[in-house]
Structures are given as structure tokens and as C-alpha cells.
Amino acid sequence: MVSAWAPVVRAVVRAYRRHYLHAYLFISPVLVAFGLFRVWPALQTLYFSAFRVELARRRLVYVGVENFAELLHDEIFRQAVTNTLLYAVAIVPTAAALGLILAVLFTERFPARELLKAVYFAPMVTSTVAAAVVWWWLYNPQYGLFNALLRMAHLPPSPWLLSTRTALLSVILFSIWKTVGYNMVIYIAGLQAIPAEFYEAATLDGAGPLQQFWRITLPLLAPVTAFLLIYNGIFAFQVFDQVYVLTGGGPANATNVVVLEIYRQAFQRYRFGYAAAEAVVLFVFILAITILQFRTSRRFEVTY
């Protein structure tokens, strides 16, 4: 009996050693790192959201859904959510449209093409914080360059970051400047993937450049567009650095965003449980966008 099974056992053990052991060995560093520093904190966030953390007495007080109930009536959090949504709705389509226009313009063979492309992408490699410090100076109402340019053009100066009416728009302008190059590069890659024969055939059929853009370019770029809208959308919900530097969330919470609010509640007011509840809400938003991605990307799947 034993001898009959021995080869099978040996084969299984060999297969196991050759593949399973290596497989688990090879993925274990990633799993351990993610388990400890991503998955565990994610579960803990959910757990904390049901507690009030009393740091002074080093204890957790169970409060159930009280944090979430409070969030519903928290004017500041509601404004942070509204601002984040406004920010996302403003920046995502604008940056995509500008990126697409630039990418299409870059299909023309004009001088200094590579250099100009590099210029548009430069803000992307610059740290958001450092770039925002520069823009903070540009936005200075008295001495900043932007108001100097407006005055030179005989236009009224703007308070930029200092007024509740213009502060969020100023943050959005910065973010468009920062991200447009990325979208452009992704669109250029997308344009290069469209076979040239499509355009040749369209030209033979007498389609003009505008018609070609609407009938060929735009539909074939739909997967790229879907990717960018989702990708930029998710990042828009995580916006923090530029707000921290440019306005600190002010004036009067006009530029407060969800991540800044989490940061404040947790690390300035030490309300860890409440901040965790806010983080859960942020996660729900990101989850919603991701689900949207799966839905739309399937619909936009193009094969050619």
C-alpha cells in the first residue's frame, strides 16, 4: 500500500515544493507589508469609527453610530464634502478636456515639440507642496504676480485665496496647472495607439479634420477618457497638499476638504474615532467612483 502511494505522494510534495512553496514565499513580503500597514489599519479605521477615543485616560468608549450621526449634522464636515465634490467636478472634466486638446495639438509636427511637451509635464514631477508655496506667492493680493498682471491689463485685482468667493477657484486653478500635463501624456499615448489607416480611410471618404476628431478620435479614446476621469476623480477626493499650503482650509472653511478635515480632527483635536468615521465616508466616495469605473470601462471597451 505504502509503496503504491509513494510516487504519488512524492510527486505532490515535489509539485508543492516547486510551486506552492515558492509562490507563497514570493508573495509573502507584499502580503505581510500590506496586511500590517494597509489591511489592518483599514479594518481598525472601521472599528475606531464606532468609538470615542479618550487619549488622556487611554481608553475607547463605544458609541455605536453616534460619530456618523454627528457627521450628518456637522456643518464643517458637510462643507468639506461639498468643497471636495465641487473641486472634483471642476477639475476632472477641465483637466481631461485640456489634456485632450493639447494631445491633439501635439500630433502636428511643429518645432521644439519635445521641449514643449516636457514643459507641460514639468509641474507633474514637482512636489505639490513646493509648487503650492510658489503659487501662494503668485496669489498674494498686494505684491503677487497675478494681480500685477491684472493691473497691467487694466483689470480689477482679485483677492484670490483671501475671499470665500475666489479661494476654492484659486486652488482649482493650481491643481489644473499641476495635472494637465499628465492627462496630456496619457492622451498622446492613446492617440498613438489609433491605427493611421483609420484616418487615411476617412480622408479618402472625404471626412474633414473636425469630423475625423468626432467620429474617430473621440470614440476610440473613450477607454482612455474613462481611465482618466476615474483616476483623476479618485485623486480629487484625496486632495490635501495644495489646500494645506495655499489656504489651510480657509477662509471660513471655504476651501476645507475631506482629507484636511480628517487631518484636523485626528491630529489637531485628537478625535480619532470621529476622524475615523470621516475616513469611512471618504472610503465610500472612493468606492463609489471605483464601482462606476467597472461599470463604465466595460461599456467603453473598444476592440479594433
Binding site: R18, Y20, H22, Y24, F26, I27, P29, V30, A33, F34, L36, F37, R38, P41, A42, L43, Q44, T45, L105, F106, R109, P111, E114, L116, K117, A118, V119, Y120, F121, P123, V125, S127, T128, V129, A130, A131, V133, V134, W137, Q142, Y143, L145, A148, R151, W177, Y182, V185, A189, G190, V224, Y231, D241, V245, V259, I262, Y263, A266, A276, F283, I286
Partner: protein
Amino acid sequence: MAGRALGRWLAFLVVAAGAVVMVLPFYWMVVTAVSPAPEIIAFPPRWIPSRLVGDHFREAWARAPWLVYYKNSLVVATVSVGCSVLFGLFAGYAFAVYRFPLQNLFFLLILATLMVPVQVTSVALYVFLARLGWVDTYQGILAPNFASAFAVYLIRQAVQTVPTDLLDAARIDGAGEAQIVVRVVAPLIKPVLAAVAMLLFLSSWNDFLWPVIVINSERMRTLPVGIALFKDPYGFINYGPLMAATVITVAPMLIAYAVSQRYMIRGIAMTGLR
């Protein structure tokens, strides 16, 4: 034919005008950093300084330990890129080449972490690291970046393009699995590894939210944290030194970019699309 040429020049004009807008903040940063103080706030603005001044740099340099910030940024970025690429290489290989129980579950779990960014988990992660005694340490700054789901995913895609025959040939020659990964697979997918490494370096080097949470002391600050905290107590008058400080902060990355921009842009395009 004339229409084509016209279109080309029109495109050039629009793109060039936009490029001027894109460059303006960089240009003004440098001009402010090297201009004599009165010219910084002059109206109309002085586009070219009457003479170059080094005072702002001297002051900015004296007020903060920039070399410490550089060192911290470099250590953090290097270790996070090294670990993420190495771990990602082996994990990506395992997911691409082997079939093993719970494979899909593990892979989905890793991808799912992309949906839970540090912005969401920062509070719990901080509490956890505080218990480990990792607050204000390199390990603490690195914790969320030891591994990258993005790296695992892209490397798996790349390994899938490597012919299985090649791996089997190496096995027949007596190579161990780890040897195959390092000696056979890694050289074949070098462009992807390089693009992933570059992108991770960039994001780690410029990362702000998590470092500003986990760093307490000046000697642990990375460059973005350094410049953000440099700006705040500095008041509203000394824009010269502030812009000198931002030049100090962004110069290494911009120089690296200027040298390798074609390659960097290609890498981004490669990793951005699937």
C-alpha cells in the same frame, strides 16, 4: 498643403502660449529668489533682475537644515523604491507564473488596497505605529510604502509576456526559482521595472500627507514637510528667502527631469495606460 502648414503653425502658437503660462510659476520662483528685495515687490513687475543676489539663498540655507531634509527624502525614497520593486518583482512573478490555492483572492486583496489610500487609513495607521514605537522614525514614514500594489500589478503584466519556454530552459539548466527571477526575468522586463521605480521614486520623494502626520522632529523631516513648515512661521514679507527655499526644494527633481524628461514621460505613459 498650405492648409496643413497653417494648421501646424496655429497648433505651435497655441501650444507655445500655453507653455508660457505653464513655465511662469517656475520662472517667477527663480526671479524672486535672485532679485534684490525692492524689485520683488515692484510694480510693474521686473521680469529680469537688475543684478543677481545670493542673499535670499544664504538666508534660506541658514534657517533650515536642508541637507538633513535631502538625506531623509533620499533614504525614504530609495528604501521604498527598493523594497517595492524587489517585493513586487517576486510577487509579480509568482502571480504570473505559478498556479496556487487562493491565488486570485490574494491578488484581488492586493489590488483592493489601491482603493484604500493612506488618506483613509491614516488615523488607524498612526495609532498602530505609535504602539510599535515607529512614530518619528524612518520605518514609520516608510510603513505604507514598503510594498506597492501598483508595482505588483504592472510587473505581473510584464512577466506574463515572458515566454514560458525560457523559464523552463533555465530550470533544465538547473537554475533555482529565485535565480530565474533575478537573472532571467528581471533583465527581460527592465523597462517596466525602471518605469515603476521612477514613478515610485517620484511619488515617495514628493509625498506629504503621511510624512507630515508621522514626523514630529526637525531631524526627521523630508523635503516637502521641510518646505511646508518653513513657509508657515516665516511671515508675510520675506518672499525672497521663501522662493530661494522652494528652489532648493525642487531643484534636484527638476534637474533630474531636465536630463531624462523623454525617458520619464515615456515611463509615465507606459505605466499610466494599463
